[in-house]
Symmetry: C2
Subunit: 102 residues, 2 copies
């Protein structure tokens, strides 16, 4: 679709979507800095990378927040699962690199 | 893991992760409000739900933003694909409901 065929209203909506995406990417960057610290702490204190009880609480909390914010709770749950899968992958890498150390 | 076995540092990190998650969920809720408007606009103006050129520009932009923010560009790209899949699903539902109208 050529640039000048786009309705002005669509241009405006896309600019706002792009701003929100930039904000979300920056928050995710901060979130992964914190989970990296969690991974190092868990490896150092021999805590397991996954914590099913914590995840259950997180799911319930985010489903509630999503519902109040007008977002489908199912999507919030899928989003958390998507992020946690990435975090666990990082934690396992950290745990392996720590156990490789003398 | 019982609550009182958790190192204080982990409690602190988790509280910050929970705050970031709440912020991200609220931004996602706003993002889906905007893409719902985009879906209605596209259906009304007979524009196709998907726009591969726009997606290519979004991927490049978010990969750059992620890189500057210290987030893996691959994760930013996976995140966008995850969100866009949900958006397309919404757009198709909107397009179907509009074409069902007399």
């Amino acid at each position: 679709m050529a640039g000048d065929d786009i309705p002005p209203e669509l241009v405006r909506l896309r600019a706002s979507i792009d701003n929100l995406d930039a904000a979300i990417i920056h928050l995710l960057a901060e979130r992964f800095k914190l989970t990296r610290d969690v991974g190092v702490l868990k490896a150092r204190t021999a805590l397991p990378p996954a914590d099913p009880e914590r995840e259950t609480r997180q799911i319930a909390r985010l489903r509630n927040l999503a519902d109040e914010a007008g977002l489908e709770p199912e999507f919030a749950e899928k989003f958390l699962a998507f992020v946690i899968a990435e975090v666990l992958h990082h934690h396992e890498t950290i745990a392996r690199s720590q156990s490789d150390q003398p």
